[in-house]
């Protein structure tokens, strides 16, 4: 028995929703093929060029599969062939896509025996290796689709909220930021008034999602706690953001822990203008980059065959 899935990129830490708000993207997406076997071995192949370890005790997908195997009475083995199209270390949820894609594929082969909460749990075991912590703001949207509030990871409490009609433009400058480093520079304490601003904004942002109010969304897309610290790790962040806001972006910020930057807009023409705006900054600076113009993926991981 075999299955082939596409497992999409995503954006965690959406502006004022650090560790709490994530969304799934239409592009880019990894392609994962998984075969169920009779033994209890786990074999991982990567057909991409990212130099990812295929050792199932180190590989994110391997660890997530082992978390599933622990929950099964019967012995089941898996052979996975993973073609990553989401570049690791981009901030676009590459490791979450591996973890979430593999557990959805495995569940499909096993006859859809797990709840979405269980799938998030298994995938978190895998992603723990990448991020050094239990976070679901990339994994959950990959499994549930759309925009998710992660109210809690212990126990898992995910709320799927309505998707606004927005386009998302992304630039990924080719510099490396390790998630663990991006975490290390975070303050342990924040001023109460700043925290109050942040929860005012996330509350308003959720209201904007439910009411599809793009003007409110724009006002609420503000982060005065995490972005000022982490954006220092991303060359030209302020310039990209300022120019995008001048060119009609509703708002945006750091994707995950960076270095990718995303901006939301309410029509495809603006999304294209933002792509050129972002590209021109890094072209001028002589920094290699990728760009994407995409939308929110309402489904998450998709069974292809």
């Amino acid at each position: 028995m075999k299955v082939k899935v596409s497992s999409p990129a995503g954006i965690g830490n959406i502006v004022c929703g650090f560790d709490v708000l994530g969304l799934s993207l239409d592009l880019p997406a990894d392609i994962i093929e998984l075969e169920l076997t009779g033994d209890n071995k786990t074999i991982i192949h990567h057909t991409d060029d990212f130099g990812i370890s295929e050792d199932p005790d180190v590989n994110i997908a391997g660890i997530a599969l082992k978390a599933i195997q622990k929950h099964l009475d019967q012995q089941h083995g898996f052979i996975a062939t993973i073609k990553k199209l989401i570049r690791p270390g981009s901030g676009l949820g590459s490791s979450a896509a591996s973890a979430a894609g593999i557990v959805v594929a495995a569940d499909h082969l096993l006859g859809n025996i797990f709840t979405k909460e269980q799938l998030v749990q298994f995938a978190m075991e895998g992603e723990y290796i990448a991020s050094g912590g239990y976070h679901a703001d990339n994994i959950a949207p990959c499994i549930y689709g759309g925009i998710n509030i992660i109210r809690s990871v212990k126990p898992i409490d995910v709320i799927k909220v309505p998707c606004p009609d927005v386009y998302i433009t992304i630039v990924h400058p080719m510099i490396e930021i390790k998630t663990s480093e991006a975490r290390a520079i975070l303050p342990k304490q924040v001023e109460l008034y700043k925290a109050v601003n942040q929860w005012a904004n996330i509350a308003a942002l959720v209201a904007a999602f439910y009411s599809n109010d793009v003007a409110l969304m724009s006002r609420a897309l503000n982060d005065n706690i995490i972005e000022p610290v982490r954006s220092r790790l991303i060359p030209h962040f302020d310039e990209v953001k300022e120019k995008c806001l001048q060119h009609g972006a509703l708002g945006g910020g750091i994707a995950g822990s960076g270095p990718a930057i995303f901006m939301m807009s309410n029509n495809i023409e603006k999304a294209g203008i933002l792509e050129e705006t972002m590209a021109s900054v890094y072209r001028k600076a002589g920094i290699e980059y990728n760009t994407y113009v995409t939308t929110i993926n309402k489904q998450g991981v998709k069974i292809l065959s």
Copy 2:
């Protein structure tokens, strides 16, 4: 020209929504009569027994009226007769009801010339005297009705969110807590992980309001920042909360800056059981108290005649 309005109590600082989330209550409500005169004098009468100053430069309603007068080209005077039924210092938005009620009444007499944002601004000038800060989480719901997110007070950005089908039970133990004192004991800094929990909960709570999901509301009604500090000022708070949760409350906490405590429930029978649960704690402790069983007021200040 005269008008008579009822201006309702409310709950600010709703659990995880400190300074941001407020709602308007059906009960209790102040009764305010206002007359427009030709001179530019402001006269305030109180027909209640709370010993509130009638000096228009000290009285909250007087200051709010003067804020309106500053915005007018023509000279207008006001004579206000206020019968407060919301006890000052209860935590139930007594000063906000004076400020919001008077500005809505004045606007009615002037021919509805102001926006709701302007009315909030005028009322905030009055309430500033009571709380020592600009806050709108009691004033806005009194003017807009229902449940409000105060995203910002500078500029004023209020979002009215849908009301869930809940009953609200309140106990007001007759002890005095000054808003200024309740503010003074707040921490200046909070741990980042606690702030993240708080914004996860408020995001989920807003989602629960939009989807009328009382189970989610119950899970999200958690505050690990303000309540642990302020509840120490309210005798028997923990006992009241614990017993109410045992008796079917969805959740609740301190109303405003206390000492009133509120609990939400999803039917009138439970709301009554909670009233008796709360009452029995203070009866046993020998502390005087008032109780209310009410619902969310979707309209706010109401023109009576």
